[in-house]
């Protein structure tokens, strides 16, 4: 047995009774709890922040979403019709038509076709109103496709008829004043 072992054996009782003060343990425990509570508070704060952000996002989406703004672009996007270029085709055809002139006395005749165009546009407004009131539905989408196709074919017809009028006007010019075709 060496000196150290001897010391242990001799002072065994003394060493055993020399326990750590419970206050120290309590302090350590409190420190750990404080740290845990601190983490918990941090998590709670983060959670509240996330919830508030989500709420703000949802409310912004609800209030800022332009529900009432149903326009041609929205419909086209909704219908996935962009590749058909309907509005562009209509606009190009209208532009082309507005370059024509024709005898003033023939304007009334072409007016018959323009009235059909007006009627179709009124129906289109009905589709938009329906979508505004009831949400987008596929059958309305199909009616809008039909509207565009009919409108394009009507614009073609108008062009063909103006060309026909002007063909004869060149052959036997009338005294009627030439006016620009407004569409």
């Amino acid at each position: 047995m060496d000196d150290f072992e001897k010391y242990i054996v001799e002072n065994k009782q003394k060493l055993a009774s020399d326990a750590v003060d419970p206050k120290v343990w309590l302090e350590v425990e409190n420190e750990m709890l404080r740290s845990k509570n601190h983490n918990y508070r941090n998590y709670t704060k983060m959670l509240i922040a996330i919830i508030i952000s989500l709420l703000i996002a949802a409310l912004s989406y609800y209030f800022l979403n332009p529900k009432d703004e149903i326009n041609e672009e929205t419909i086209i996007a909704e219908l996935n019709l962009a590749h058909y270029n309907y509005p562009q085709t209509v606009s190009l055809k209208k532009q082309k038509l507005s370059e024509f002139t024709l005898p003033k006395d023939k304007l009334d005749d072409v007016q018959i076709l323009l009235q059909q165009l007006e009627f179709m546009d009124e129906q289109y407004q009905d589709y938009l109103l329906y979508i505004k009131e009831n949400g987008y539905q596929q059958f309305i989408g199909e009616q809008i496709i039909n509207f565009y196709e009919s409108k394009i074919s009507l614009l073609d017809k108008i062009q063909k008829e103006i060309e026909k009028i002007n063909y004869y006007e060149k052959k036997i010019p009338s005294n009627s004043e030439k006016v620009v075709f407004n569409i």
């Binding site: 018959i112 009235q115 059909q116 009627f119 129906q123 109103l129 059958f139 009616q143 004869y168």
Partner: protein, 427 residues
């Protein structure tokens, strides 16, 4: 250790069995659906006047996310996650029979949150045949259902509700409706359908009135027809004795018709989404007509219509603009007052009596049957680019305003053309 493991296994299998039973119970609950066929029949007089709407004709109130599927035979509305909420059979068949009885059969299938909700709905639905002040029997293809409401939102799942005519509301998970009507063959029937429907009709010996928008109609034999069509993809009939058709942007096809009148009046306001629309001047426009055989064909007002007539006995066009008349066979006569109109008569019978056309800025093509014998009068002051067959010979005219030609002896038929700025081809 082994004993403890066995105990755990026993407990787990018990819990698993319980979960399985619960799952089965709930899946049964989810799949459970009501199905009831409602029938009502009443005795009527043979010439009863009946007015019915169509199954798709009830008001939809949608708020939130939804999608609809407008298939060949179904109109489906689905909610937030694509779950079907409303499924309407678009095919509305109206059968006719020899009995003096009106019978409606409506099959409702669906489910609600609870068994009691389902029972409540089943009990609340009923068929009512109402009588209008003018004596018409009014039949609702959807019984007493007034509205279907579908609501959902960002934090809210689908909530669909059926509102009945008496205002009572019933929550449903989903609903399927199929409707069929039986009427006497001799009844006078009015069908009003303004939203995506396919109407199928048996033979009708009484008067048939159709007020349809965005619809397809398949009719068989009809004695008397008065139709208002607005954007109808196709209206097909086998045989009609007498028809008056007023239409916009529609396609109409009839195999055989004795008397056909087009554009006599404006289409019914009930066809239009908004009664404020002014249809403007022309009663019939932007339609295509495919008629195989018509004895008497009369156009009152028509603009930008295309007519394909296979065989016509007598045609009379009173007011027409920007139209096309393609006639495969003209048997007797054709009288036309038009503007900017194209007329193509692919074969005029040698027995024809009269062709009389007043037109401007148009094109006229006529092919006469061999051995045709007729006199042709052309207004000489008109600008006409003509191409006449060699057999047509010019005759001396006593009237300076007319040029006269003849084919054969020029004594049987008569053709008069007043077409300024026209292209004329006669073969």
């Amino acid at each position: 250790m082994k004993k403890r493991f066995l105990q755990i296994l026993k407990k787990s299998s018990l819990i698993f069995s319980l979960i399985l039973i619960l799952c089965l119970f709930f899946s049964w609950k989810i799949d459970a659906q009501i199905s009831k066929t409602y029938e009502k029949e009443v005795a009527v007089s043979p010439d009863v006047k009946i007015e019915t709407n169509v199954p798709t004709d009830f008001w939809l109130e949608i708020s939130g996310n939804m999608s609809s599927d407008n298939t060949y035979d179904r109109y489906i509305i689905s909610g937030k996650n694509g779950d079907q909420r409303l499924n309407i059979n678009k095919e509305y068949t109206i059968h006719t029979w020899d009995k003096d009885v009106v019978k409606q059969v409506v099959t409702i299938k669906g489910s609600a949150e609870s068994y009691s909700d389902e029972q409540e709905l089943i009990d609340a639905l009923n068929i009512n045949f109402n009588e209008h002040a003018d004596g018409r029997m009014l039949i609702d293809a959807n019984m007493n259902i007034d509205r279907f409401i579908l609501k959902n939102g960002f934090f809210k799942s689908d909530q669909s509700t059926i509102v009945l005519e008496n205002g009572s509301k019933h929550k449903v998970d989903r609903l399927t409706i199929e409707s069929t009507l039986y009427i006497p063959k001799t009844a006078n029937l009015t069908v009003v359908g303004t939203r995506n429907v396919t109407l199928r009709l048996d033979d009708i010996e009484g008067h048939l009135e159709l007020i349809m928008s965005y619809a397809e109609v398949y009719g068989k034999t009809v004695q008397s027809l008065n139709a208002s069509f607005n954007y109808c993809y196709g209206a097909y009939f086998d045989r009609v004795e007498q028809a008056e058709i007023n239409a916009i942007n529609s396609h109409i096809s009839i195999n055989e018709v004795t008397s056909l009148e087009i554009g006599k009046q404006q289409i019914s306001n009930r066809c239009l989404a908004s009664a404020l629309h002014d249809i403007k001047k022309y009663n019939s426009f932007q339609n295509s007509f495919e008629i195989k055989e018509v004895a008497e064909f009369k156009v009152f007002e028509s603009a930008n219509d295309v007519f394909h007539l296979k065989s016509v006995h007598k045609a009379d066009v009173i007011k027409s603009a920007f139209c096309q008349y393609n006639i495969d066979e003209l048997k007797n006569s054709f009288d036309l007052i038009a503007k900017n109109t194209e007329v193509k008569l692919y074969e005029v019978s040698k027995d024809f009596k009269m062709i009389n056309m007043v037109n401007t800025i148009g094109e006229i093509f006529m092919r006469f049957e061999d051995e045709s014998d007729y006199k042709l009068r052309l207004v000489s002051t008109n600008y006409v680019e003509s191409n006449l067959a060699p057999k047509i010979k010019e005759m001396e005219s006593k009237n300076e305003s007319e040029k006269i030609y003849k084919s054969g002896s020029g004594e049987k038929g008569e053709v008069y053309l007043d077409c300024d700025r026209c292209k004329l081809t006669i073969k």
